[in-house]
């Protein structure tokens, strides 16, 4: 599904070129659950954003479903975001002016899904995450964990093939973090490819593979020994 070859990301100033990612080779197959770990500033978010096509690599090759990404046009990128990729953020990034229900509904609107079907899909999510009672509340009226549930619901309501999560539990209590992780695991079992960034060893155990990133380079890439929980 994802094939990165000798990928660089750098920022140029007048005199220097600062590498954030350097010589990344990474292949992620459909159905994997990968955790990216590493110290702060190692380039994890940058890598995830490049994979999610929110940012561009400076050099190297990136094939997404066997297609070179640099060739993908704005319109096609919107299509990919709509149909194949879901995002979960550390800071939730819900739309403040929309209710829980409307936040979850938004991707479906852009997908052009019709009223009735849309309703049942959103209802399904509310059900699944146990937030039916909260559907008419605004984000600021929810706790962090609840907001992140909405964030996850919004990311997966369109049934993407790939879910990208950048420290999804970073702002949450351990307990809330486990709930999210359980959901991720279940989704992966149903066939969704997941790439997450986390600092927590415990959460990493939910996945199948751990990539260690240090100073913009892959330091290690191992399968998770034993299944947790």
């Amino acid at each position: 599904m994802i094939q990165l070859t000798n990928l660089d990301k750098y920022y140029s100033t007048k005199f220097t070129r600062t590498f954030v990612l350097k010589g990344i080779d990474l292949e992620i197959k459909s159905g994997e659950f990968v955790t990216i770990m590493g110290p702060s500033g190692a380039g994890k978010s940058t890598l995830l954003n490049i994979i999610g096509m929110l940012d561009e690599a400076s050099a190297g090759e990136y094939l997404f479903m066997d297609e070179p990404v640099y060739k993908i046009k704005e319109r096609k990128r919107s299509e990919l975001h709509k149909h194949h990729i879901g995002f979960v953020f550390q800071a939730y990034h819900l739309i403040d002016e929309l209710t829980v229900y409307e936040n979850i509904e938004t991707p479906l609107l852009y997908k052009g899904i019709k009223g009735k079907e849309r309703k049942s899909m959103v209802a399904d999510m509310l059900d699944r995450f146990n937030i039916v009672a909260k559907k008419d509340l605004f984000p600021e009226q929810l706790s962090g964990g609840q907001q992140q549930l909405v964030g996850v619901a919004r990311a997966i309501v369109g049934q993407p093939k790939l879910l990208l999560a950048d420290e999804p539990t970073g702002n949450l209590h351990t307990e809330q973090g486990h709930i999210i992780m359980d959901i991720f695991k279940k989704l992966n079992q149903q066939g969704m490819t997941i790439i997450q960034v986390t600092h927590s060893e415990e959460n990493a155990q939910y996945g199948k593979r751990i990539v260690q990133l240090v100073d913009g380079m892959v330091k290690s890439d191992d399968l998770v020994a034993a299944e947790a929980g």
């Binding site: 954003n49 999610g52 929110l54 940012d55 704005e74 319109r75 919107s78 299509e79 975001h81 709509k82 149909h83 995002f87 953020f89 800071a91 990034h93 819900l94 739309i95 403040d96 002016e97 929309l98 409307e102 509904e105 938004t106 991707p107 609107l109 852009y110 997908k111 919004r154 369109g158």
Partner: protein
């Protein structure tokens, strides 16, 4: 999807109420201006189009060309023109002549001064003026039949049925009985042809000589309207005219005068300034352009507010846009959303605009001299929809474009977007200040000029001076009538001399502010064509006006010769004729009667200050001049008037005594008077209205612009709270911080103001070029404008700046 957009739009509007209100008020004011102006322009463009045959109706005009300085171009025509054209060309279905006549109407014991229209019998075949009572094809066949408008009927007869009422109309100093046989709807406001009373052209022989009506091809009185057969080519028809007029006038007269008759489409009369004004009203499109431009500028300022505020606030919306992009929104969908939002705001503003227009339409009508009304019809609905779409699209698209441009990655790292578009915003706000400064300076200069017009020394004293017409009938032998009027005026003068409230009184042919004085053209002894203006006066006239003599003396009863042979000229005349020693000179035209210059007056402004003071001749007996005149044009009534100067204080009492004297001496018609300073001021009405409009525009621009600046400054200051906190911790004083916060705005205002100076200078000078007498554009006014702009801008942002500078740094830094 749309629903989702609308929901979010509405919630954002409610959440940021202050911005919403500023935007809606600003856009509402701007759109209201545009709405009113559009109604105005729409009416101007649709003038005279309500006649079913509008496209087939043409007005005839006549041109004569005798060589340099001797061309005549008239849209009033000879009497025989209409009938002759109709008889000779089968393309002409009908012909209607319209001749005005000032007269007095007696209804019971009441008398009214009226403008009577004598119209052709096919009036209703050609035009679509509505008859509410009476039979269209009969009412004008009756010689003694009178048609009056509904509003006049109410004035004359109140609630009584006006039909078949009897009234008397003064014709040639006698009153004749007429019967009301038809009631007309008042002519619509967008009709060039306006009237209160109509009588049939069967009455023409009572007003005009047989010769005038059938053979006077070089005298012009009525307007002639022709109804052409459907499909007639105007050009082809006009091409047939020369042959006809060669025959009628004879080869020699035809060649001498280059007699040319042409047709002007009815629908183009109102806006065509290349044609001389006839009876139908003509508007100066320049004023429409100026007020349309003012309205658009105000709307533009309001749009800029919307743009700068949206962009300023977009900081807070970057995350929303980023998220939308990530879940798959295309750029086009995002632009659609933002434009949609501005359409919502604009629609709300349109409601405000509609309400403001309805409330202010009386004021607008007063300023524009129209009778517009704002009804819900197809035109206004369409207009409002177009305004919403255009303004919404214009105001919404830039912020939308900007937001949709950013990469979602950058947007989620909020704070990144803040400074990138500062410069564009500054440019836009600078442009608002530029427009405001231009408007402020323009309105100040216009006011100065108008004040100058009112206070300029005209060479005579216009205060406490009234004009009382001596005769109201416009018929018979003009010279005889003028003589008679003067003798009545003389008797009045003797009567009035005994009144303590009257300082002095004198008689004249022409008054001020009601059109050109009599124009005289002649060929001098060297064979070149020359001209001057003429007035007939008596000994008391110049004294009453307090016009100074610079040489010689005034007319005097001590010199009986003055009556027949004395003339007084003005300085402009002496100068134009190169006379060093004017006294005793004679006008160099051989046919003038025996005469000599006995005095030279100072150049007093007998015409408006739009014109320079042209050579003027004043006589007691006009015959000596008319004998030698080849052309004369009497475009304002030369019938004698009495100028009365009142002493201060006892005006109303004295006026009653004057009226009693008038009743004894003149005795018929109705007593009327006007004050010279008022009629003189009225000449500048159009420019006074223009000044009012620019004045209102200026206030609106300042208000809307200040609201925008206030909101923008509050956004900008919010972004600097942290910076200011740090600076204070580092030891900056509050005054240096204030300076820091306001400095950039002062620069902005100064730059915009300086850039506005050349534009203002150019455009105000353009306007001033209408006037022969005008002010100089002083630097003080520009400085005043700059001062006002800076003070307004500073006081607008002062609150925000002070608030920011005085914030406790502990509070601002802790929250970060």
């Amino acid at each position: 999807m749309i629903k989702n957009y609308l929901i979010i739009a509405w919630r954002i509007l409610v959440k940021y109420k202050a911005y919403t209100i500023i935007n809606i008020i600003g856009l509402g004011l701007g759109m209201a201006c545009c709405l009113l102006i559009a109604l105005f322009v729409h009416e101007e463009w649709n003038y005279d189009r309500f006649h079913a045959n509008a496209e087939q109706i043409h007005r005839a005009y006549v041109k004569e060309d005798y060589g340099e300085n001797e061309q005549f171009f008239n849209t009033v025509t000879p009497f025989p023109l209409g009938p002759v054209l109709k008889d000779n060309f089968q393309e002409i279905v009908a012909e209607v002549r319209i001749s005005p006549s000032s007269t007095v109407v007696k209804v019971g014991n009441d008398q009214f001064s009226e403008q009577l229209m004598i119209v052709g019998q096919d009036f209703f075949e050609v035009f679509d003026f509505e008859l509410v009572a009476g039979v269209e094809d009969q009412v004008l066949k009756q010689q003694k039949g009178l048609l009056i408008t509904e509003s006049l009927a109410t004035r004359y007869f109140g609630n009584q049925n006006p039909l078949y009422q009897l009234v008397s109309i003064q014709i040639d100093q006698k009153f004749e009985g007429f019967e009301v046989v038809g009631i007309l709807k008042d002519p619509p406001g967008n009709s060039g042809i306006q009237f209160d009373l109509l009588i049939s052209d069967l009455n023409l022989p009572k007003f005009f000589s047989e010769y005038a009506l059938t053979s006077a091809w070089f005298n012009v009185t009525p307007e002639t309207y022709l109804l052409l057969k459907q499909g007639t080519d105007k050009q082809q028809l006009e091409d047939k005219f020369p042959t006809l007029f060669k025959t009628i006038l004879g080869e020699e007269k035809y060649q001498n005068s280059q007699y040319h008759v042409g047709l002007q489409p009815l629908t183009s009369i109102h806006l065509d300034n290349d044609f001389p004004v006839g009876l139908a009203s003509v508007s100066n499109p320049k004023y429409s352009y100026i007020i349309s431009a003012a309205a658009l500028l105000i709307l533009l300022i309001a749009c800029i507010n919307y743009i700068t505020l949206s962009v300023g606030r977009s900081l807070k919306r970057t995350r929303e846009v980023g998220v939308r992009k990530i879940v798959g929104a295309t750029r086009r969908q995002l632009i659609g959303q933002f434009v949609g939002e501005s359409v919502v705001v604009t629609s709300l503003a349109a409601l405000v605009a509609f309400w403001l227009s309805v409330v202010n339409i009386p004021l607008f009508n007063e300023l524009s001299g129209k009778e517009l009304s704002l009804d819900f019809n197809l035109f206004t609905t369409l207009l409002i929809v177009i305004l919403i779409v255009v303004v919404g699209g214009f105001a919404g698209s830039y912020p939308a474009y900007l937001l949709s441009l950013f990469k979602p990655f950058d947007m989620l790292k909020a704070g990144h977007l803040g400074n990138t578009k500062q410069n564009t915003r500054k440019l836009l706000v600078g442009f608002q200040i530029f427009i405001s400064a231009f408007l402020i300076a323009s309105t100040l200069f216009m006011r100065q000029q108008l004040h100058f017009l009112q206070s300029k020394d005209l060479g005579f004293q216009k205060e406490q001076l009234a004009v009382i017409p001596m005769s109201a009938s416009g018929t018979g032998d003009l010279v005889e009538e003028i003589k008679e009027g003067f003798s009545k005026a003389q008797q009045m003068e003797i009567e009035l001399a005994s009144l303590p409230g009257v300082v002095s009184s004198g008689a004249t042919s022409h008054d001020f502010g009601s059109g050109n004085w009599t124009y005289i053209g002649y060929t001098d002894e060297q064979g070149s064509y020359r001209n001057f203006y003429l007035n007939v006066i008596d000994e008391q006239y110049l004294l009453t006006l307090s016009v100074d003599m610079v040489e010689g003396r005034n007319f005097s009863s001590q010199y009986p010769g003055d009556q027949k042979t004395g003339i007084i000229v003005n300085q402009a005349f002496a100068k134009a004729y190169g006379w060093e020693q004017p006294i005793g000179k004679r006008i160099p035209g051989k046919n003038f009667g025996q005469h000599q210059v006995i005095g030279v007056t100072r150049d007093f402004n007998y015409a408006s200050l739009y014109n320079k003071v042209e050579p003027l001749v004043m006589v007691m007996d006009p015959l000596i001049i008319f004998e030698g005149s080849e052309n004369h044009d009497i475009s304002s009534s030369p019938l004698p008037k009495l100028m009365v100067r009142f002493a201060a204080g006892t005006l109303s009492e004295t006026m009653e005594q004057v009226e009693q004297a008038w009743n004894r001496i003149v005795g018929w018609g109705s007593f009327e008077f006007t004050f010279v300073d008022q009629t003189i001021n009225a000449q500048y009405q159009a420019d006074q209205n223009l000044n009012k409009i620019i004045n209102i525009s200026t206030w609106l621009a300042i208000i809307i612009g200040s609201l925008g600046l206030y909101a923008l400054a509050s956004l900008a200051m919010q972004n600097r709270v942290k910076e200011i906190g740090i600076r204070r911790v580092l030891g900056a004083t509050q005054s240096t911080l204030l300076l820091l916060l306001t400095k950039e705005y002062i620069y902005l205002v100064l730059t915009a103001f300086i850039l506005s100076i050349p534009i203002t200078w150019y455009l105000v000078n353009q306007w001033l070029s209408n006037f022969e007498f005008k002010i100089d554009l002083g630097m003080e006014t520009f400085l005043l404008t700059g001062g006002v702009a800076i003070i307004v801008a500073l006081s607008t942002i002062a609150y925000q700046a002070v608030k920011t500078a005085f914030l406790n740094p502990a509070d601002t830094l802790r929250s970060e």
